[in-house]
């Protein structure tokens, strides 16, 4: 079950009704049961592991909280080791066992119980959200150790903190200090909050279903499904494919985050914002304050700062930045491409810091205001380009493919031939029916423009609150507001149609793979 499946559209209202109907003291238990049910739909074989990890971490954190000094620190490492061991161990196991030949009856059994993804060769299915709930658990342990957050008192609340269906599959990585206090008091139904949450979910669905999944057709058509597939293309078609992925990833993940935030808000819970118009960033540093904010702040607080941050001199600071981003890369995936992606971002920041005085002098020399609109547009474009280049490594199945994609786009071919090839990719998805393919392209353009406009509102409107467009939408007059509601509903409906009925077997969210 995923947020964009029919089963979730049935599950969520039922869960919300049960949640608000039961007496307040049972709300957390109901939500926890619903979360475990949600988890059981995805990776049922791993549900006992999630429960065991949650309870073990809860016990370890409470045990740690009773100690002081070296003993407290040892118990902290136990809690961290539990989760880090689970995360690293399972990922290493998946890599080690990938493609391992096994007898067919064993493979069939493993596939039936949801542990293997392939009927021919072994391919370990990792627990849903393992990269997220382990980091949350580690974060809680460290916060309790630092005494910035009290130790959780209730096992139910703590298990809900690690298992809540709203954020388990792809975040946002939530802090115990902000989430656990919300669980301490009963929540009542607020129509305005619920409306705001539903509107946010609708925006998320538009981003995911109407933009990301449709861009995926073009991106996957160029990148293909295996190493070397991208070499069938050259020229600007590679640029188009890479750009398609750059926006696909953003709308997929930000769409998911809006869905997560929205459904939590309906239930009276507030999650941290995860995206704040990152492609309008004017520097890589700003980008990481706007992209996957929960992960970047987690890495800052639990990796970068403990490594020494910027407190141990400039060189050490740069090393810490590179190490932190290398870890970020490896968190996303175990291949070299992810490591290079992470290191690239680290390098961008280091080089950016080193060249900062030079840039300042250049602006002064040219008498250009650094915060003026011309400079801002220039900075946004450069930042976008740097991020976009890094995404090529993120998407490519191999380093060679990434380098090929980056270099071969200048190897020849015109924009018109690239557009013709892109049109060919789209047309092949519609059995060569030009009218339908044209409708698809027009629909994608409209939805992309709508999402871009919403991002502009988030970025620049005085009505947007904390980077959300929802308050701006809700502040419109009744007629215009209902028009927006119908427009969102219509776009979502058409998006599902263009995705060929993905209510029932949804295209997964990209970040659920990490």
């Amino acid at each position: 079950m995923s947020f964009n499946t029919l089963s979730f559209f049935v599950f969520f209202p039922l869960c919300a009704v049960a949640y608000f109907r039961v007496p307040g003291k049972y709300q957390n238990a109901v939500l926890l049961a619903a979360s475990w049910l949600f988890y059981a739909f995805a990776t049922p074989a791993w549900l006992p592991v999630l429960i065991a990890d949650s309870l073990a971490t809860f016990g370890a954190v409470r045990w740690m909280a009773r100690a002081e000094g070296p003993s407290r620190k040892r118990r902290l490492w136990l809690a961290i080791g539990l989760n880090l061991g689970l995360l690293v161990g399972l990922k290493a196991l998946a890599v080690a066992l990938a493609g391992m030949p096994m007898v067919q009856p064993v493979l069939n059994v493993l596939e039936r119980i949801g542990l293997s993804a392939s009927a021919q060769r072994f391919s370990l299915i990792l627990p849903l959200g393992i990269s997220f709930f382990t980091l949350q658990a580690i974060g809680c342990a460290v916060d309790v150790y630092r005494k910035t957050c009290p130790a959780p008192k209730s096992a139910v609340q703590f298990c809900l903190f690690t298992s809540f269906f709203g954020f388990i599959s792809s975040g946002p990585i939530t802090r115990a200090g902000s989430f656990l206090p919300q669980l301490a008091a009963p929540r009542t139904f607020h129509a305005d909050k619920a409306a705001s949450g539903l509107v946010l979910m609708a925006q998320g669905l538009v981003a995911k279903v109407c933009v990301a999944d449709l861009l995926a057709i073009l991106a996957n058509g160029v990148w293909g499904s295996g190493a070397g597939a991208v070499r069938a293309w050259s020229g600007p078609v590679l640029t188009l494919g890479a750009l398609a992925y750059t926006f696909q990833l953003y709308f997929d993940f930000s769409g998911y985050s809006m869905l997560a935030q929205g459904c939590a808000r309906v239930l009276g819970l507030e999650l941290a914002q995860n995206f704040n118009t990152p492609y309008f960033s004017r520097s890589i540093k700003e980008f990481w304050r706007r992209w996957h904010m929960s992960l970047s702040s987690w890495l800052r607080d639990y990796v970068y700062i403990p490594l020494g941050g910027n407190r141990k001199g400039t060189v050490r600071k740069y090393v810490n930045v590179l190490l932190t981003f290398a870890m970020s890369g490896l968190w996303h995936g175990t291949g070299f491409t992810f490591l290079i992606w992470g290191l690239l971002h680290g390098l961008y920041q280091v080089v950016g810091a080193v060249l900062e005085p030079l840039r300042a002098r250049l602006y002064a020399l040219l008498h250009i205001r650094r915060d003026g609109w011309a400079a801002s547009i220039w900075q946004c474009c450069i930042t976008f380009l740097l991020v976009h280049v890094a995404w090529v490594f993120f998407r490519a199945p191999s380093v060679q493919d990434a380098l090929y994609a980056l270099t071969a786009q200048f190897a020849g071919g015109s924009v018109s031939s690239a557009l013709a090839q892109a049109w060919g990719i789209i047309l092949s998805g519609f059995n060569a029916k030009p009218l339908l393919a044209a409708a698809f392209a027009a629909f994608l353009a409209v939805c992309f423009a709508a999402c871009f406009a919403l991002d502009l509102v988030r970025r620049f409107s005085s009505h947007s609150v904390q980077g959300e467009a929802t308050p701006a939408l809700m502040s419109l007059g009744t007629g215009l507001r209902w028009l927006c509601y119908y427009a969102l509903a219509g776009l979502i409906f058409l998006g599902f149609l263009f995705n060929n009925g993905y209510l029932t077997g949804a295209v997964s969210f990209l970040y659920a793979n990490f």
Binding site: F20, A191, N431, L436, Y485, A489, F493, L497, G501, T504
Partner: protein, 356 residues
């Protein structure tokens, strides 16, 4: 909460209206409410019809099994059949569809299963059964399927224009001119039959690329270089063959035969007829007949009856009865073939049982 529910319900009104229109105009009679489908030969119509009302006798294969007049079949055999064959079906899809049919109807006792050099070629690994099964078993997947919605809108437009809709029939109106090439040379077969072989050559897994020149057609689809194609076909040798049997599918057929024997299902493998042009310029020219013989022997070894009109034809049909190399003319030839295939065959009739 009631207010939110009311708002959501209001938002769903246009969607509900749209689905009402969809259900009225959808051409497959998916829910069995209309007493018959407009697109009778679609896999959706046929498999849904079977799921709604399973028959104990089925036909499986591609377009060469898909267009029988089932009323004629019923008259000849004295029983109802479900035709689960559909145009473009691959061997893997037909095999999976068989197992689906057997699963949904424990009383299934007769199956005519098409086997052909074309569906057994290595180049064809398509299997859309997962998608097909989702579509026919999940109404929501059907309601939100893009192609099905496009078909519904197409049907709506045609009806609004007053166009008679329904399954098309392969029916040709040939004259002597169809036997004359672009240079005035007399052709042994019709131009469209020669062009059809060229299409088969380019299908992948039949002949090496570039064996024949490209087929040139006018705006109406009439072939313009039949003579050139014929010249090229006459010089083809087995060295141009790219054909090999899909051994996995062949083994799956052997397993299917064993399954039928175990379950008491009277299975018959049918090698459907091809016209003389295909026999001469494809099966013989590329040496595919030898491979086909091996396939036939493998299947015969399972003890399953075989009706062979392709490899060692038990009946040779006149070329005039064919619309193109693979398909009978719906008026001239199809009824003829139906009689040959179904009449006087004990396994086709009620109650036939090969025994467990």
């Amino acid at each position: 909460m009631k207010r939110i529910a009311a708002v959501m319900a209001l938002l769903c009104v246009p969607i509900a209206l749209y689905f009402g229109i969809f259900l009225y105009f959808e051409p497959y009679d998916y829910f069995g409410l209309k007493g018959g489908a407009v697109q009778e030969d679609s896999y959706i119509t046929r498999v849904r019809s079977y799921l709604n009302d399973p028959q104990d006798a089925i036909l499986l294969g591609d377009s060469r099994m898909a267009h029988f007049d089932m009323e004629q079949v019923q008259q000849l055999t004295g029983r109802s059949w479900a035709n689960l064959a559909f145009g473009g079906a691959s061997m893997a899809e037909s095999i999976d569809l068989f197992y689906l049919a057997a699963e949904k109807n424990p009383n299934l006792n007769t199956c005519y299963f098409e086997v052909s050099f074309y569906t057994l070629r290595s180049g064809d690994n398509r299997n859309r059964m997962e998608h097909i099964q989702t579509l026919v078993e999940n109404p929501f997947a059907y309601l939100f399927n893009f192609d099905c919605n496009a078909d519904m809108l197409n049907e709506l437009l045609l009806r609004l224009q007053g166009v008679q809709t329904g399954a098309s029939r392969d029916e040709g109106h040939w004259t002597q001119e169809d036997y004359v090439s672009e240079t005035g040379q007399a052709l042994p077969y019709r131009r469209n039959q020669i062009a059809y072989i060229a299409t088969l050559y380019g299908a992948g897994g039949i002949a090496k690329a570039g064996t024949l020149p490209d087929t040139q057609t006018d705006a109406d689809g009439n072939v313009l270089n039949a003579g050139q194609l014929l010249d090229a076909l006459q010089s083809v040798t087995p060295q141009a063959s790219d054909y090999s049997v899909n051994e996995e599918n062949l083994q799956a057929l052997v397993e299917l035969a064993a399954f039928c024997k175990e379950r008491g299902i009277a299975l018959t493998f049918v090698f459907p007829p091809v016209d003389g042009a295909v026999q001469e310029y494809l099966l013989d020219a590329l040496g595919i007949r030898d491979e086909l013989l091996r396939v036939k022997q493998t299947l015969a070894a399972t003890g399953t009856p075989i009706r062979d009109f392709e490899c060692q034809p038990e009946v040779v049909f006149d070329n005039e009865l064919f619309y193109d190399g693979f398909h009978f003319d719906a008026v001239r030839g199809l009824g003829n073939y139906t009689e040959v295939l179904f009449a006087g065959n004990d396994t086709a009739k009620e109650g036939a049982n090969l025994g467990a």
